[in-house]
Amino acid sequence: MRFLLDLAWRDLRASGRSLWIFCACLVLGVTLVSASAGLYRLINLSLLADTRVLMGGDVEVDSRQPLPDEALAWLSAHGDVSLVTEVDTMLGSASGRFSRVELQTVDDRYPLYGELLLEPARPITELIDFDDGHWGVAIDPVLAERLSLGIGDEVFIGALQMKIRALVLQQPDRNLNANWRGTPVLLSAEALRAADLLRPGSLVDYEYHVRSDVPAETWRERFYDAFPQQTWEVKTFTDRSERIAERLGQIASGLLIIAFSTLFIGGLGVFNSIQAYLQGKLKTIATLRALGLRNRRLALVYLAQIAILGGGAGLLGVFCGSLLALGGGKLVATQVPVSASLGDLVGPGLIAMCFGLLTAYTFALPALGRALATDPASLFRGQQHQAARLPRRWKLATFACAAAIIVLVLQVLPDTPFAIGFVLVIGLLLLVLDLIVRGIRHAARRLDEHPRFNGRFTLKLALANLHRPGSALRSSLLSLGSALTLLVACTLIVTALLRSLQETIPEEAPGLVLYDIFSDQVDAVVSAIEELPSVSRIDIAPLVHARIAALNGRDLGKVEALDIRQQRDSSQDRYKLSYSVDNIDGVTLVDGAWWSEPVAGPGKLAMEDREANKLGLQVGDQLTFAIEGRSLDVEIAAIYSQKGIQTRFWFEGILSKGALDPFIHRHVGAVYIDDADAITAQNLLGEIAPSVISVRTESLLQTARQILGKAGAGLAVVSAVSLLASLLVLISVMAAGRSRQIYDATILHSLGVRLALIRQSLQLEYLLLALVASVFAVLLGSAIALPLLQWRLKLPSADLVWLGALVAIGVSSLALGLGASYLMRRLRLRPAILLRSPS
């Protein structure tokens, strides 16, 4: 055994440099797997370590109204209770800058779990108390930085001026979406009341956090038993864990799939690299067999070499990936509480190492099996040492390694449907590719044999290189084709989103969008804004929240078509209803028709398709809404779909005029105005209606552009990494084929073919490969991106396919051009060598 290892090591050391592509491909793939799995592990461990902290209690009872006394008494009797009241509103600075915030009132028991870290480090109740003529607030450092605010500065909230007394350094139950939805501002319940923001129709969340020794699920059942008629929502920390785990799992699955794809593409590089390496070893293999080394022991030598190389590359990849995961953990730690520890990365590192080794063996075994089957008798005959057919047991070993990878992928990817989809897509990709390769080879052979091309030497040579056995067509198409597919899909998605933001929205969108306008503020708001010179239109629509109580006269709890969970979810869902004010949200009818106003009898309803589909509703069905303890019967007259990412208010139901009148307290609005006047309008609103939330479309667009910019940069990195892997594979393909091409070219040259013609034929071969890879990528990339854009994001983008094609052709030409120029430089033909060569 020692002799075999020694032989493996000596042999590897003498020629290992030729295997740098093998190592590079594995290092790249393992790094990404290790980094993605490591980062997921760090975040998962930190976030799920104690979701009681993230939720702020064992259970949380949510209501839009303060709970009645008997419910409060029940809560107090069954645990420690802390109330957090949440209201969305605008916060203005003394310099006239406004930002949407989420006000959170906290009491002296807050937080029930975890620790609230403030600067200065004093009790929150002291800091937010009324003092020196002002109520105090503690604000988020992100908000402070955005509005250039600091401790001691005054801010406007509702009707009051308050003073910043602290910065919140760490809030245990901070919402993960806080930066996007509205940064938290902590204040006292008395300050909120004094700010005049709690009015009939105000959108207020009363969250009663409870700490209890009773298991959360039991607690919830007991609560529902005690108050069976109520629709208060009760969340437990395990619900929260499941939701976080699900969301994290989806993100991690996305990252891991990119990593696995890179490893898969890199695997092709492993195959080509080891094949080229073993091609040079066939003589040694045959010699060792002729000297009496048994096949099994010979196999051990080369299996040990793969283990040494794969292990080394894997270790380097795990090291780089762990560093990336630690760095990523530090970055994420600025947003969510993540503690980065090296010990937590051991598991992901081992998994990445397993993937690396299994990939190395899966892609190396076929080449090795063929090489070891080389006939030693060729040594006597001075033949070119040709790799044989793959023996059955090597085939089985390869399948076993591939099966192990599939099992590991299914185990490791947190989102199982994602994992199954990934495995199926890879399988489908290989199948489609195989069909395409067969088709191209067949076509190339037919063209090659066609009499019309007789005499066109370079074309015939290029065509022959596509259909001959061992041609680079399959490897090139799979490596470059996969990377280009990803690139085309990313290009289409990012371009469609950018176009939607930069072209569609500015033309059609209002400059200012208003939320939470109380009925008694509507006239004042409209007349103040109307005065501004650039205003061309103001649309104000009511907004009423309702719950569904009955379908076609049957109580929702008795509708047999819905299971218990659907019944409970639907009865707790709050539907946003409005009137069709100039089709303020630009919805499109998909069934039924708008009605003629005024409507006699029960009101008419146009319902959003997703909600209607969820409940199995159709045009003609009767619906009963429960609003503020009263019922409202309506008939579904139409079903509509939203515009997708351009939707602002996302109404779930649009009613005939008058139907909602008794329930209207709040409105939303859209003001068509230029951005300079939109800023003026925000300042005006701050004075006359401080509770109204206003969002400038331009600022929204800026944020969206920033996010899209980051997403674009992320996708660019993904594309770059996959292109890098693909280029490595291409280099390995060329390295594997280079000696053959140079040998063929040398023979042709010695037979009198001009060097220029040989070069032309090689260039033509690469051009054909570039063309085929581009067509493959455009078809597959479009097939992935266009349905996603069409049906998920509602952005029809078939007209952008030309851009995808341009990118694919450009990049593949560049990649293959680089490869061709590399080969041309190496193509120093010396036909005299042939005359001197003994075999």
Binding site: R10, T287, L291, L379
Partner: protein, 227 residues
């Protein structure tokens, strides 16, 4: 004792069969030196390949010391080559990643013998290359490489040495020295030597000359007796 009994061997071409050996019979006593001669394509190399157990004949039987090669599996054939055969190729076929010493030591290491390096070094000394034991094949001349190949073939004292045109890639003077060395060492060890050659001078060094023509043994001359 080596016996080839009515050996037939052919290779498939695209549309036909190429008959390489056609009922060849040969018997070689232990310690004999036999030269196989004949024109290209007459079946010389195929006979050597069959004797090495690297291919099996379509019909007939090959026996080495009474053991029928046709009854052995791949591992047993490998063991036979490891323990009883030494092979010398026309193109040397040294392992490029190993030094001269490493190449000579290979058969001993494969067989798991002891004192490998001492024995290999001793063998290298016998072929006059002990001072170049640390050189790699690429650093040696053709003649030196063939001397290393001879040392590798004989280091484990095999019962049968097969040599395929051992001087084919060498100039006349070097070739003569190599043949001298091969026969001297072979005599010391007492192995049977079967040698394929086109060179009459080399053939005449052997006790017997076997002439092959179109796959048939047309002449078997005991050179020692006739001399």
């Amino acid at each position: 004792m080596i016996e080839l009994q009515d050996i037939a061997m052919s290779y498939s071409l695209e549309q036909s069969q190429l008959r390489v050996l056609d009922g060849a019979c040969l018997s070689v006593a232990r310690g004999d030196t036999v030269a196989i001669v004949g024109p290209s394509g007459s079946g010389k190399t195929t006979m050597l390949v069959l004797l090495a157990g690297l291919e099996q004949p379509q019909s007939g039987e090959i026996l080495i010391d009474g053991i029928a090669l046709g009854g052995l599996d791949a591992d047993a054939l490998a063991d036979l080559r490891r323990d009883s055969l030494g092979i010398i190729f026309q193109s040397f076929h040294l392992v490029q990643s190993l030094t001269a010493l490493g190449n000579v030591a290979l058969p001993l290491q494969i067989a798991g013998k002891e004192n490998v390096h001492e024995r290999a070094l001793e063998m290298l000394d016998m072929v006059g290359l002990s001072e170049r034991h640390n050189h790699y094949p690429a650093q040696l001349s053709g003649g030196e490489q063939q001397r290393v190949a001879i040392a590798r073939a004989l280091v484990h004292k095999p019962g049968l040495v097969l040599a395929d045109e051992p001087t084919g890639n060498l100039d006349l003077a070097t070739g003569a020295k190599i043949i001298e060395l091969l026969f001297d060492l072979n005599a010391d060890i007492g192995s049977t030597l079967v040698l394929v050659t086109h060179d009459d001078q080399v053939a005449r060094r052997c006790q017997r000359i076997v002439h092959l023509l179109q796959g048939k043994l047309v002449e078997d001359r005991d050179h020692a007796l006739s001399a």
